[in-house]
Symmetry: D2
């Protein structure tokens, strides 16, 4: 048995841990051989491979990024894409393909498997934690940890100058990073894409915080939007989901707060720092187990499935279903956390 492996979409701490898990168990327990495909779907499309064996995965567990490289290439949008992939898999004698990626990458895998008979197993990867079939995705815990440490640091600078500090974190369509890091960091306001925010309400929280002689921290997901439609029409853009987005929403909000409350406000945009570097212990554990269970699915011939975390168990779910629905923040959970606002 020869197994191809690829990683697609944005990078995420834990990708290398998945790859290591796959290869260690595949080689040692099942005697499989592996073919690494470079840069996501571009690899099998163009026949671009890298050697993938036990020496290749030594020492990669604590390293961020992906030793296979990544891209957003979509073979279904390429002329002859499916045929070329089939030819290359045949040429490399690859019997099954483990695809590690988000909605886009896995969506392709689901179609290649269901419609074109390519044997695919999926491993979910989204730093935003917004996949409905799994309790958590790897990379999310690392991102939350980095954002929380940043918020911890910003508290002292906010207090020393009695300023508002607005922290913009990742999350275009789901507010999980904002919600977790905002709660863990003791933020006074948390704004998420799932619920349009009222700037006046935010200013009221900010002001009440100052009255208690503390300086407020506002955590805002990059995809959060104000209720006020006009601002949106003027500055917003349509993203790939057809959603209106306000570019630089953190900066925009800081200016609004300044002008409405008269308090100084500063913005910090955490950006790519959240998705790089060594994975947390939690993410190494989760990603490694995803790798171990994905190769078991290959051995079982259980294709078209994706590994997922439910409680403390790794289970398998159909890729197509798993990627069909975004997991957004439940309004009840947001309300639960709201007790700390203001």
């Amino acid at each position: 048995m020869r197994v191809g492996v690829l990683t697609g979409g944005g990078d995420c701490p834990g990708l290398n841990a998945v790859i290591r898990g796959l290869v260690r168990k595949g080689v040692q327990e099942y005697g499989y051989e592996f073919v690494g495909y470079r840069d996501g779907w571009r690899g099998p499309l163009e026949g671009d491979t890298v050697p993938l064996d036990i020496p290749a995965v030594r020492g990669i567990l604590p390293r961020g990024g992906t030793i296979l490289g990544s891209s957003r290439t979509n073979p279904l949008k390429e002329a002859d894409g499916v045929r070329r992939i089939k030819e290359n898999l045949a040429k490399h004698e690859v019997d099954a393909l483990v695809t590690i990626g988000g909605e886009d990458t896995l969506g392709v895998a689901a179609r290649l498997c269901d419609e074109y008979g390519i044997s695919c197993v999926g491993v979910p990867k989204t730093i935003d934690n917004d996949l409905s079939a799994t309790d958590y995705t790897f990379g999310f815990d690392t991102a939350v940890g980095i954002a929380t440490e940043a918020i911890d640091r910003l508290h002292t600078t906010a207090e020393s100058h009695m300023r508002v500090l607005v922290v913009e974190v990742m999350g275009r369509h789901a507010g999980w990073i904002a919600l977790h890091s905002g709660l863990a960091g003791g933020a006074n306001v948390i704004l998420i894409p799932e619920q349009r925010f009222d700037v006046d309400q935010v200013c009221a929280w900010v002001t009440s915080r100052f009255k208690a002689s503390y300086a407020p921290i506002v955590v805002i997901a990059e995809g959060a939007m104000p209720k006020d439609g006009e601002a949106v029409l003027k500055d917003g853009t349509l993203d790939s989901f057809g959603h209106v987005r306000l570019s630089g929403v953190g900066e925009w909000l800081a200016k609004e707060i300044e002008s409405r409350t008269g308090k100084e406000a500063r913005t910090t945009v955490l950006g790519h720092v959240q998705r790089g570097g060594t994975p947390s212990a939690f993410d190494r554990w989760l990603a490694t187990r995803f790798g171990l269970h994905a190769i078991d699915a290959v051995r079982d011939g259980d294709f078209g499935k994706m590994v997922a975390l439910q409680g403390t168990d790794i289970v398998r779910v159909p890729i197509a279903e798993a990627t069909a629905k975004l997991k957004t923040v439940d309004p009840k959970l947001y309300e639960e956390v709201g007790v700390f606002f203001g």
Copy 2:
């Protein structure tokens, strides 16, 4: 409504987050008053209280330890213990008691509630993660993170000198910390209390690692035991569970490895560092939610219950059941991780 709060047993990162969650929601949403009891069960036993209101819980979220102090006092072993507790609760006009603690502390709460009619709600606390009713307990993720970072560091020193490094981590009766940190840290051998280890097998793994030109890291839980009974009889002691324990098992194993393989071996005992300091973002999230849900249980009059994590939900389970059985490492999970040994 006046609610008493106490923290018992060993300290654990996240205790303050629980207390803050209880008080913030209790005061703001339900208009409750709080009484902090000092040093676990000693507080209600001796009537020793501290003020507990919103100012008292400001800024404590990122702090380790417990602002209430802790102890191992067991009021059921004190003359007249129950009567004295009842008197003090009455004197302080306390209607319900939130008890945050491990098996011992919660066991007392269960009996006080079930047998003596004191209204108790439990919040589980064990850094060892060995409580069967909950997927995780807070503090565990922090401990695993600290141990993993230490193992990361030890790799380089092992490689530079081609030595064996034995790392002893917490875990008297359950190997969760060893298993998670050992996997996350890329250890070559992980030894847990649930399965007696064979020193010759350990030496075989160590030797095979050297053959691949790498230096081995052995992670061992403090409660792990060799199969070899004689060593145990000579050096072991009986702990409070009536289990035989080998004091300093890491040091003992390092010496055995040296004498059997001829390779230099060094031991690091992580000790109390694992349970102190600021909680991880995961633990702050979990502990805060435990606090929020525990006060909801008080409001619902749902006494004799303990909050627990199942998947991503916080649920309530009977305290008595929850503490009846130790959650140990499933042999299948240990076998799953075993692919990385050697």
Copy 3:
């Protein structure tokens, strides 16, 4: 003897360590009393004080920010400023004033001491490390550590996507943070305010890095400027030093690199995260020793002096001289580091 203490200007990890050092030694060894002034020069100007004794400084060593608060109030620009300060010092029976701050704060202290006879001792504080009389200032090491960790993380994301990552760090007039964190983080280009950069040269380094199959990291100080004058004239502004500055120079450079090399480029602006949170061990050591030596200067009646680090010794230098000249990066040192560019 009663000693007033104030902290002025931007916050900086280590301020609390200085305050603790002053108070512990002043009270215990010399029997002094202390008066804390709130928010920099605003405190003595308006007579706004906080109690400052041994209990007040307990536990503040690891905390960022300043328990005294800070501001940029300049009493020399206030009507009657000097008279009001003198009156308040007399009213509070303050015999000497320890002023902890940067150029502005210490410049005021120098004039109040030299021209108006107020007994001042200075402690230098600038996160940018740009004071000529001292080898290092506290807060700088913490900022460099935070920036280095961020660069470490960005490497993996750059490699995974073969993108250019531009990291903008603090440093308006001196490139110390960029130079140290860029070197420590293994950046491929480091741009500092002291030397105008040539965008084509930067692009050549970026391109050569890609040729070696690695993705480049460009570290740029916020005050760095391109040689190309037109861009500056169009987008730049004059700062308080009368220097032309290009707001958002990191973002600007990323766009230039994209358009000239055809490679994707992303920007991360570290911002306030660099100056908040717990100080590094180095900064705690340095700041504490500054505090201990500043109170010795008070005891010696050695006013108009500032404590400074030379090698491993703490010495005293005249405040006026110490703040007269900015310590910028020596061209030779920049050239030394340049061996790692490209």
Copy 4:
């Protein structure tokens, strides 16, 4: 010109940064070739080499340990050692040798250079910071940072249980790590090898700390010794310097404190964790600059010299002098820090 490089003695974060600095500048600026010798003096003694060029040093800056390996082999104690080294250097066409190491390694380099005409340049390496010719050695800042973070964590566990926590850190003959981490961590007692301690005085400090309602942290260097001679005679051993040492002095002291004060005491021995893992930004900066300046010394033909830090400058000093005298903690500095005891 061909340059040999070796690293000897205990590992130390920053060794790889030195090697990278040497090679990058040597190859790029001077066109040199390099020969890596494996495992300290064993390499040139046995002719055991590894390739050392620019690809070999890519990515090693943030990694602890040494890519060259290390050992304590002393060629002057080997039969024919000098002749064999000379033969191997000739065979590999090595013109100069850069030796990175502590007292022992550099002592050999000094003699080989001065007595046998081998062209050596030294780079000092001691995690204990106990070399008199340089303000700091790399690795020390990393060790202090790790120890400080551990002490930070132990505070909360000490407070929660009102226990004494004794932390044993590295430092056999010099107390620098204990002094810096103890001060930075807010320890209440710091004990160093330079000054025998009085257990009763330690107990008095411990007791006074409890009276202020805080729990004490005692930081002790592994080489610290009590005044009480009898204990020493019973448990102590002679180390390689001929000094009496008390093995496990932290554990010993904890027991003494328990029996004399009646308070619970616990010990944490930080051990090898202090010397492994990624170097701090400070150490990467210092080590890199040592590498850059050492290769300049080779180019200048300035043999028998060692690079050293004086203030912010890298200078050259004769190896023989530099290693002749241990840099111990000045009693005045210890007294300065003593204001925080108790």
